[in-house]
């Protein structure tokens, strides 16, 4: 009897050892399926926060165990936050950022590549602009992040002011733009400029001044940096294109006086009717709807020069290395890219989705001025930021030199002075490239 009891006990013990882990395993699977997941999303465009929150709430209805917390900051502060938190693995699970400031983190292996299902989605022909998909490639050839929205530029022009100046419509060439600006500028009795003909970006922190300069440099045939056949780079503005662009700025400020440092600029000036035209992204439409709903304006593609095109700055969503639930994070990013959610993004903020195959007809019918942002022509090229970690420093330092140059009235009718400004700036650009081992000698 004792023997039987012993055998039963041993068998029971062995069975319990076998069954317990199985039952525990069952519990684990179940707990993973219903596990409460909280994802954090940080962004640098505060106007998009309501969109993320609405989409996150919709996503939560479909996935009750997943909650997304959104936090946005002004762009410059946000870029600093990323610099401090990504290397320390303290960043959010999902990061909203342009590919060019993220390149330094990608190069350092601090951002993981996108999974294959996301890459397949991203690289489907005709889904996203080719230039913006190419910009997602890291130095290792892998794709990082998924495209979300983009900053495409168009000319915003005030129809009443153009009519008053006897102008037929938006300028189609660079020459027209310069000539129209002179006709549109308005001064008071003392000769002070009270309305600019074309609002240029003459000052401002960060790289914005450089980016806007680049938009006019492109039609003149130049670029901030250009890639050589050996894959290395050099400054692309110390040439006739750069000269013509800087001369245009100097002339418009100091010779034709169609713009002035002392008056309002950009979207604010446009909404206050203190400028007749300027170039900017689609968010201005959403912003103007709130701040100046009665403004009679329209949009037009960027003007032509020796070449024609538009600078597109993509903004992507990345999943951080420290994210504990990357599958859920990528799933939410894909959810953000659905037609319905992209229409909501466009209607709410004016930011244009990168997805070209999204059905935006309802939004475009409601607000036809978005159509200029989707303008397409075989000669109208879409160009974007090069994927170099050093590009932010190059563009920011170039911008600082341009801010200084725009203040210098001695550059009027001074070709040697203009060329010296460009040559000094190019030496700095090339020295940054050299330090990074990327200069085409």
């Amino acid at each position: 009897m004792k023997q039987v009891i012993k055998v039963v006990l041993v068998v029971g013990f062995i069975l319990s050892l076998t069954i317990l882990p199985l039952s525990a395993g069952g519990k684990t699977e179940k707990s993973q399926a219903t596990q409460q997941i909280t994802l954090t999303l940080w962004g640098g465009w505060p106007e998009i926060q309501p969109v993320y929150e609405k989409v996150a709430a919709d996503y939560n209805k479909q996935n009750p165990n997943i909650t997304i917390k959104v936090l946005t900051h002004p762009l410059r502060e946000f870029e600093q936050k990323l610099s401090a938190t990504i290397p320390a693995d303290q960043a959010s699970d999902i990061i909203e950022a342009s590919p060019y400031p993220v390149q330094k983190f990608i190069s350092a292996g601090l951002i993981p590549p996108a999974p294959q299902r996301v890459v397949d989605y991203m690289t489907k022909p005709g889904r996203f602009p080719e230039a913006l998909v190419k910009a997602n490639k890291g130095p290792d050839g892998k794709y990082y992040g998924l495209n979300y929205f983009q900053g495409r530029h168009v000319i915003f022009w005030n129809k009443d002011m153009f009519k008053e100046a006897g102008l037929p419509g938006a300028p189609t060439t660079m020459d027209e733009m310069i000539s129209y600006a002179q006709k549109l500028a308005k001064r008071d009795a003392q000769g002070n400029l009270v309305r600019s003909g074309l609002s240029l970006r003459l000052s401002g922190g960060g790289s914005g001044v450089g980016e806007k300069f680049w938009m006019y440099l492109y039609p003149f045939g130049g670029s901030i940096i250009e890639e050589m056949p050996n894959g290395k780079w050099k400054a692309g503005y110390d040439n006739e294109a750069g000269y013509n662009t800087l001369k245009m700025y100097i002339d418009m400020v100091w010779k034709y006086k169609t713009d002035d440092h002392k008056i309002k600029h950009d979207a604010e000036a446009f909404q206050l009717r203190q400028t007749a035209m300027f170039a900017r992204e689609s968010w201005v439409i959403g912003d103007t709807r709130k701040k100046a709903p009665d403004l009679n304006y329209d949009t037009a593609p960027m003007p032509k020069g020796v070449r024609w095109g538009d600078l597109a700055t993509g903004v992507n969503l990345y999943v951080s290395r420290s994210c504990k639930n990357p599958d859920a994070a990528w799933d939410f990013i894909l959810f953000l890219n659905t037609d319905e959610n992209l229409r909501y993004l466009l209607d709410t903020t004016g930011w244009l989705p990168q997805r070209m195959d999204a059905d935006l007809k309802a939004s475009l019918d409601k607000e036809p001025r978005y159509k200029a942002f989707l303008f397409s022509h075989p000669d109208y090229k879409i160009y974007t930021y090069p994927t170099l970690p050093e590009y932010d420093e190059i563009l920011t330092k170039f911008a600082e030199r341009m801010v200084k140059a725009f203040l210098d009235s001695s550059l009027v009718d001074n070709p040697a002075g203009i060329r010296k400004v460009l040559s000094d700036a190019a030496a700095e650009t090339n020295s940054i490239l050299k330090r990074a081992g990327k200069l085409a000698e």
């Binding site: 990504i86 002070n192 000052s203 960060g206 440092h261 203040l407």
Partner: protein, 309 residues
């Protein structure tokens, strides 16, 4: 026997006193330990680490760094932005120290004679000191606005054309000096006032008996006795002025559409190299130079004031 007992009692007493003294010291050290530890962690170690980083090519986003000797310091000497920042910061510091110290002293002399309105004036002058710098800088940015600013509005009454206060680098530097002096002058005034009120009246009485009057009293009594206070104020204002950042950032750089880097200062340059371009080694070299400048200026100020005392 009696003598032996006395010696024994004295020995016991001495031991007890020594033991009590040791306990007191131990208590003091233990009580100071937390604050010393915090000071070590957040002040001393980062300073040592900054010195160490300044001779490397350390990056914010890479764990690897190489020793590069004095290359960062050599490169700084040919870096136009650093040299501009150094020039601007030095001009700003000297102007702010000179104006805020002299105005603080003048105001304190005016306030010294107590009247019923003295507390009100003291509060008014001290108010900017307790207001945080960010809202102050935003308000002054509006005051300096070329189109709608109060400053240009006042100038317009006198037929002066609008001035781009924060647009042109030469003017912008002085515009920020004006704000900074306005912000700090109340603090300097209060410290001078404390110093003035601590000068015993008997010195003045004796000087008056000897025939000293007006400026003579100030020259031979007030000023010499205020020198320790003057040294303290100059040192503190110099250190704060060399560390200028917030007002410059908020008024000229921080936001889109702001005038831009019209006034580049050292701390901004350090911050940009460290956190925008991730060049921690290079930024550390700049921080070391800033540290040495402030240290040398402080030592020089101590020496000058002590030698005159």
């Amino acid at each position: 026997m009696g003598g032996g007992n006395r010696e024994g009692r004295a020995m016991v007493e001495k031991k007890r006193t020594w033991s009590l003294e040791r306990k007191r010291r131990t208590f003091c050290y233990l009580a100071l330990l937390p604050i010393l530890s915090i000071f070590l962690i957040i002040r001393v170690i980062p300073i040592i680490r900054t010195f160490a980083l300044s001779v490397t090519d350390a990056s914010l986003i890479s764990l690897k760094s190489n020793y590069i000797g004095l290359d960062n310091f050599k490169n700084l000497l040919s870096d136009d932005l650093f040299l501009l920042a150094l020039k601007n910061t030095t001009l700003f510091a000297f102007a702010t120290v000179a104006l805020s110290v002299s105005m603080g002293l003048l105001l304190s002399l005016l306030m010294y004679r107590k009247s019923t309105l003295s507390p009100l004036y003291e509060t008014i002058y001290f108010f900017p000191v307790i207001t945080p710098m960010v809202p102050v800088a935003i308000i002054w940015k509006w005051i300096y606005d070329p189109s709608y600013g109060l400053m240009n509005y006042i100038l317009f009454w006198f037929g002066i054309k609008p001035i781009g206060w924060l647009v042109y680098p030469d003017i912008a530097l002085w515009a920020i000096v004006i704000l900074s002096v306005w912000k700090v002058v109340g603090y300097n005034m209060m410290i001078f006032l404390v110093g003035l009120r601590n000068i015993p009246s008997m010195y003045y009485e004796a000087a008056r008996i000897d025939g000293a009057m007006g400026f003579g009293l100030f020259r031979y009594i007030t000023f010499p006795l205020l020198k320790p206070i003057l040294l303290f104020i100059i040192v503190v204002t110099t250190i704060n002025s060399y560390n200028v950042f917030t007002q410059v950032y908020v008024m000229t750089t921080g936001l889109q559409g702001a005038p831009g880097n019209t006034v580049r200062v050292l701390v901004y340059d350090i911050w940009e190299n460290a956190f925008r371009y991730s060049r921690m080694g290079y930024a550390s070299a700049e921080a070391v130079i800033l540290f040495l400048i402030i240290l040398l200026l402080t030592l020089a100020q101590f020496k000058i004031v002590k030698s005159e005392a």
